[in-house]
Amino acid sequence: MIDSPVLERVLSEALRHGGEFAEVFAEDRSTSSALLDDGRVEELSSGRERGAGIRVVSGETTGFAHTADLTEAGLLRAAEAASAVARSGGGGTATVAVGPLDRGAPDGRGAGRAALTPLGSKGDTLELLNRADDAARSTGSGITQVQAGCGGSRRQVLIANSEGLLAHDQQARTRFSVSCVATGDTGLQTGFESAARTLGFELFDEVSVEELAQLAAGRALSKLSARPAPSGELPVVLAGGSGGILFHEACGHGLEADHIVKDASVYTGMVGQQVASPLVTLVDDGTVGSEWGTFAVDDEGRPAQRNVLIENGILTDYLWDYLRARKEGRLSSGNGRRQTYQHLPMVRMTNTFLLAGEEDPDEIVAQTPRGVYVAKLGGGQVNTTTGDFVFGTTEAYLIEGGKITEPLRDANLIGNGPEVLKRIDAVATDFSMTPGTCGKDGQSVPVGCGQATMRLTGVTIGGTAE
């Protein structure tokens, strides 16, 4: 995207007024999406965005400017703007050399795999959407509306910094989703399912759009006869896969070093302490297969890596980006991410998951006399300072006498991270992952969540039944 000599001159300009660190992050991103709604292909959309963000760190202060102009003149102007914060600094000349060390994806790890197949042809995409629509509508006559969407993005990034780092990555991502509305005597109900991977169109070698559509439609249909969710505290069994959002909210965000260094997390100062049930070993790993949160290098040029956060219930480490790690005299854990070149990087999760346990998932249900079985979670939110978090169900059932019985209407569950993590008393073997979009401080990034079927001895369920 940009030649090394130009990068060197831009980084030198960025440090001309002082500062200890400068970085160029350049990005070229194409997106395309198609939406089938109400039986019609309503919208095909394509987008292209390219530009660079330049940051200069001087003492405690970061200056940041971005530009869509990738010529040397445009980059120099952005460097000048970003360096404005260092004006009060000593000044002088800085000479920066980048490369020859190239920390781009070795042997196609992540990157090569991600870019194998380009975005599918528009005709192929429409065929998938129509197949999903047909499959959803044929699931049951109660299905009255179907929306199917397919979106892909390809992103090339280049990161160079004044420490000589030069890295690049290519990331292809593809997502397919189906939303259904079912109509019955009790009104309208909704069902949703999606698949998303760090892959090109070969996603559809692995994923059946018919299955996604049937899952979404089945979810909406079953809720037509759902009873109101209970209120109060009950044991909860979370099915493998989507329950991973529990860890994302209950502790993942609280382990991000930007919250830790500001003492804005309940997990501050707790490394080495028991923070969860001994059944909990929690990992954040940006290198896993083609999961939604996978990449070769992060948006600061660090290779993705596997980080064990909690081991057998004991907190082992936090998640780090460049700035927070530098203060602690350590290396980033490969968790510096940003939405686009127009954003500053922050500490973010990648794929966050609970390692599988040893129990049989059916046995866990059988050994629960009364409770709620959550087959699918929607999303969640956490206050990292207090640890209080919520997550919403989109498919849930009562457990009565060790059996899954009646469907329940959607509700949020509420808990406190450190308390809930200690209430995990069973983890099964049936591990799986689900994709999600994580929002923080106005920036969205793709993440994966995973776990096996597990039980919480008690969580507050926010239903309408007394």
Binding site: A34, D37, V41, E42, L44, S45, S46, G47, R48, R50, E60, T61, T62, F64, A65, H66, T67, A84, K122, G123, Q145, G187, L188, Q189, S231, G232, H253, H259, K262, D263, A264, V266, Q342, G378, G379, G380, Q381, V382, N383, T385, T386, D388, F389, V390, G392, R409, D410, A411, N412, I414, N416, K440, G442, T460, I461, G462, G463, T464, A465, E466
Partner: protein, 466 residues
């Protein structure tokens, strides 16, 4: 820390000559072929964002961005493409891509671009001439002062999680071959602060902000007082009770509630059977005290606008009148689908989004004089006062109406705020909540977002806690 309310609003823009943007839009629209309609949306913006921490500038971002979104309609087929650049070669590529996309869409007689409808636009002045002249040093001083004031406001304030200043300007131009030609410009400024209060082991968080059209008038005292009061009064909060109760929603929370209800009033959602209001025009859907109006022509509204996102004049629309459902909000396509005309309610998320119907400036008819927050609390007597909600995206479904959110706040006893509570859920259905309106505040305040803030009391809600 996470918050529901993002005071930054839509990204802002620029200091150029609006005629320049119109000229670009005119030029691209001029490339239309016979038998083809084109709509060109061009936007440009500038923004500054400053975060203060521990007496220093943590980050300073300054940026300019620009882009184009093109819709092409050929034979009732729609294609869309966008680009984050206004370079001439990019404009041509984007148009070509939009044309190609159109060729794949389903032909639909309702797909068409807006045509001028003769309704005159009400001019609203949303441009602060002074903003461009405010030097960055003054903005930095304001951010630092905000942080310092919040830190010293109360001995129980342990940390200032964020103290931000931001401003921006946005200019847009919209030209179509169907006779639309409109331009808009808007500036905005905000300060936002988040604090952590502590006593013993317990910590609680609170946020405050002030928004305006520019730099002058941002209210530092209001932002800090709000943040500090909210955090401090929650100290000592315990898990709230379970049971049926009347819930009083703080003005900020009420804004979010109205925004959720508004998505069920979208003419597109109604036409596609995705709203619990579908087919209910003329029915009593709420308490007779409920009158809901969307009026973007009110210049005080945060979302005020002269033109909608298709270039038609914005206008006042009465949606619910004394409890009776009167109207939905339409853009051109959803109106055609429903056999009515556009209500001038198209909105879009910048140049990378396509228009769809939505609210900009919702208000409820105010309750009796004296119904400020204290007045409503006194009238309610006993219940729960909610100062913040979590899990709105995971627990509120505007299609089914199911409503379940996490809440924190204070119990109401003898008409006054009493002990603080946390980790509790509040549940009902949106349908029942509209019918169970107990009081609307006369304390209307324009807050960031698409609805005004007014204290709101709703009866018969299910609390789930201990």
């Amino acid at each position: 820390m996470s918050t529901d309310l993002d005071p930054t609003g839509p990204s802002a823009i620029a200091d150029g000559d609006p005629d320049q943007l119109l000229a670009i839009a005119d030029r691209v629209a001029g490339w239309a072929r016979s038998g083809e309609d084109i709509e060109v949306y061009v936007a440009r913006g500038d923004e500054t964002e400053i975060r203060a921490y521990a007496g220093e500038v943590e980050s300073l971002t300054s940026a300019t961005s620009a882009g184009i979104g093109i819709r092409v309609v050929v034979d009732h087929r729609l294609g869309f493409a966008w680009a984050g650049s206004l370079e001439p070669s990019v404009l041509e590529e984007t148009l070509a891509e939009a044309r190609d996309n159109a060729s794949f869409a389903t032909a639909d007689e309702h797909v068409q671009l807006a045509v001028p409808d003769g309704v005159p636009a009400v001019p609203v002045d949303l441009w602060d001439e002074g903003l461009a002249g405010v030097p960055t040093t003054r903005k930095v001083e304001l951010a630092l002062a905000l942080e310092a004031q919040a830190r010293s406001a109360d001995p129980r304030i342990r940390q200032v999680d964020h103290a931000d200043y931001g401003d921006g300007s946005v200019e847009t131009a919209l030209v179509s071959t169907t006779g639309i030609r409109a331009s808009t410009r808007k500036t905005s400024g905000f300060i936002s602060v988040g604090v952590i209060a502590g006593e013993g082991e317990a910590s609680q968080t609170g946020g405050g902000f002030s928004v305006g059209r520019g730099f002058d008038g941002l209210d530092l005292d209001k932002a800090t007082d709000d943040a500090v009061t909210r955090a401090v009064r929650l100290l000592g909060a315990t898990k709230g009770p379970s049971g049926r109760a009347t819930v009083v929603f703080d003005r900020r929370v009420a804004t979010t509630l109205l925004s959720v209800v508004s998505s069920a009033l979208s003419g597109e959602a109604v036409a596609k059977g995705r709203s619990f209001f579908a087919g209910r025009i003329g029915e009593m859907v709420g308490d007779p005290a409920l009158t809901l109006v969307d009026d973007p022509t009110d210049p005080r509204a945060y979302g005020a606008a002269a033109y909608d996102a298709e270039g038609l004049a914005c206008r006042r629309n009465v949606l619910i009148d004394a409890g009776m459902l009167r109207a939905f909000l339409y853009d051109t396509v959803s109106a055609s689908r429903s056999g009515v005309t556009s209500t001038g309610s198209a909105v879009r998320g910048g140049f990378s989004g396509t228009p769809g119907p939505g609210c900009r400036a919702l208000t409820l008819a105010p309750g009796p004089e004296g119904y400020d927050e204290d007045g409503v609390l006194a009238a309610v007597g006993e219940g729960l006062f909610v100062q913040s909600m979590t899990g709105v995206h995971s627990g509120v479904n505007p299609i089914s109406g199911d409503f379940s959110v996490g809440a924190e706040g204070l119990m109401i006893r003898d008409g006054k705020l009493a002990e603080p509570v946390r980790e509790i859920t509040v549940a009902s259905t949106l349908q029942r909540m509209l019918q169970s309106l107990v009081a609307v505040g006369a304390d209307l305040e324009w807050l960031p977002g698409i609805a005004a803030g007014q204290t709101l009391a709703i009866g018969d809600m299910q609390l789930s806690g201990t």
